[in-house]
């Protein structure tokens, strides 16, 4: 682990009863970056993040955050935003932040001045004496961020922080978070958001890391174009045939839509209309996205079921 490494996980194993949540998990997170942890439900994202928050201990392997194992001392250096709010609706923002400040060892005056500054930054200035229950969903998320940043954490853990937050609020939140200059680990299922805000991402599957790198680097190895095909009828039967075509990468089938990554959309699309005349409702061609990279590395739920069957 070097000075520029915020998190180092080596061969970490964690179980819940018989279920293996993290299976020989290895990952390094560089300091000062926004790092996304992406994976399907049950892939180990939340377990890994809860270990980083020192809310539980890894059962095997080595986990260090800024060179420290998970401990109370580490919790003083970490800020956490949970997926669901951790706010008492009967308290006011200033009361909530005063409590959080003292729980994290700040004296009253430091907590007060820091809270006032953060509330202003996050657009909550003037609302500090209103009951939290009267604040909008977006305001409550911003208050959560304010609370997590109050003690100037060196590592900020965000578990689906923008669920239910509109686009304007999201932009404001990320603008403010980036200004803090702290290392951020974002556990999310929102691939578009991760593509937009993360410097690096790790894809998780079945408790271990299957790919890690910057979104650009992860997309680089993919086929060049992403083609979204809208079908007039059920599209699911077309997947196997498309996979056998030359130049086709991943194929994701939904009810009336198929998303395909291809080397060259300009030759693929005419071929498509020739094969299924009248069956195609719409075609959209986009550059390959992080979602394509995700499906390429992680696979789909159907793929996992197929692997288990094998």
């Amino acid at each position: 682990m070097t000075d520029s490494t915020a998190v180092s996980a080596r061969d970490v194993v964690h179980r819940y009863g018989d279920r293996l949540a993290l299976a020989h998990f290895d990952l390094d997170v560089p300091a000062g970056r926004v790092f996304g942890i992406l994976g399907p439900n049950g892939s180990g994202k939340t377990t890994f993040v809860s270990l980083l928050a020192a809310m539980q201990q890894p059962q095997e392997g080595t986990l260090e955050v800024f060179g420290l194992p998970p401990s109370a001392a580490l919790r003083a250096r970490v800020g956490t935003v949970f997926q669901e709010n951790a706010l008492d609706p009967l308290m006011t923002p200033s009361e909530h932040l005063a409590l959080a400040g003292r729980m994290f060892g700040l004296d009253r005056s430091t907590a007060r001045s820091r809270a006032a500054s953060l509330l202003d930054q996050f657009g909550l200035g003037g609302r500090e004496r209103e009951r939290i229950g009267s604040l909008s969903g977006g305001m409550r998320r911003r208050l959560e961020m304010t609370r997590a940043l109050l003690h100037k954490p060196e590592l900020l853990l965000l578990d689906e922080p923008t669920t239910g937050v509109d686009a304007d609020e999201r932009a404001l939140l990320w603008e403010q978070l980036r200004d803090q200059g702290t290392t951020i680990i974002l556990a999310t299922n929102d691939l578009a958001e991760a593509d937009h805000v993360c410097d690096d991402v790790a894809f998780l599957r079945e408790g271990h890391v299957v790919a890690v790198g910057s979104p650009a680097a992860l997309k680089e190895g993919l086929r060049r174009d992403s083609v979204r095909i809208g079908w007039a009828g059920d599209a699911r039967a077309t997947g196997d045939e498309l996979r056998s075509w030359l130049g086709v990468g991943t194929v994701v089938e939904r009810d009336r839509e198929v998303i395909v990554t291809v080397d060259d959309a300009s030759s693929f699309v005419p071929h498509l209309f020739a094969r299924w005349p009248g069956a195609i409702r719409a075609v959209a061609v986009e550059p390959a996205s992080l979602e394509d990279a995700y499906f390429h590395h992680v696979g789909r739920r159907g793929d996992a079921a197929a692997r288990e069957d094998r």
Binding site: F82, L90, M103
Partner: protein
């Protein structure tokens, strides 16, 4: 250590200040025991005219028991703050702080002790001028003994309540258990009738009942003249103090950690 103390104090203050928002709970927790005293005390005194009381009338005898009952209810209600914090997610925030889980429980418990003590002592002080207390150790010493008894009793009750709340998943289950255990304990603690001259089986139950020692101490502090009580003050304080130590040493030794999702 200092950080844990600060965190404990912060939680203590926060839980106490939360009471400002539910004043009706405080008023009713004092008013209900007083109404019980008025109606049950007057009814039994006049209607049944009990003759085997050590001193005074039944209403005076009933006061220490009702004070203990107030503490029991206060501890049960105070534990609701644990469930409120868990369900609102605040408990996860508290446990993600450097403070130990024991500190979190202790801070909440101390707030419960304070509230329970204030409520129980208020019932005693409001009732005292209207009943025939003998104050055999003098009013001032009697009040000091009463406060000490009430604090020790609340330490035990609030400690048990918080320790149980952190282990019982639903508030309904918690209240069911508290009612199932504490109501019968109240009945054979001497709160509503003297435990002297009872059948042996009931006397045995009274002797192993922690609430009996609190009722006994309060009876000795306020109610009867020239009485040595059932156990005596030394034993009463030794048992209550010992129980408080056991509750905090064992009950708070390990608090189940919440998962990240708070479930």
């Amino acid at each position: 250590m200092r950080a844990n103390l600060t965190a404990c104090l912060a939680l203590f203050e926060r839980d106490l200040s939360a009471i400002r928002r539910s004043r009706s709970q405080v008023y009713s927790s004092v008013l209900t025991p007083l109404l019980l005293l008025i109606f049950l005390g007057t009814g039994v005194s006049r209607g049944l005219q009990p003759s085997s009381l050590p001193a005074g009338n039944f209403t005076a005898y009933l006061v220490p028991g009702v004070v203990v009952m107030t503490a029991v209810f206060a501890a049960t209600f105070a534990s609701a703050s644990y469930y409120r914090d868990r369900d609102s997610g605040v408990l996860r925030m508290l446990l993600s702080s450097p403070a130990s889980s024991r500190t979190v429980l202790l801070g909440k418990s101390m707030a419960g002790v304070t509230l329970g003590t204030v409520q129980a002592f208020a019932v005693l002080v409001i009732a005292a001028p209207f009943v025939d207390f003998e104050w055999q150790h003098g009013v001032f010493t009697g009040l000091l003994l009463s406060v000490a008894t009430i604090v020790l009793l609340n330490l035990v009750l609030a400690g048990v309540a918080q320790a149980l709340a952190s282990r019982i998943e639903t508030m309904q289950g918690f209240h069911l258990l508290m009612n199932l255990v504490l109501f019968p304990l109240l009945f054979f603690s001497g709160a509503f009738f003297p435990v002297e001259n009872l059948p042996v089986w009931l006397e045995v139950l009274a002797r192993i009942n922690p609430l009996s020692y609190a009722v006994d101490a309060l009876l000795l502090a306020a109610y009867a003249d020239s009485s040595t009580g059932f156990f005596g003050l030394t034993i009463d304080f030794a048992v209550l103090g010992g129980l408080a130590i056991v509750v905090y040493a064992l009950g708070f030794a390990r608090m189940p950690r919440l998962t990240w999702s708070g479930k």
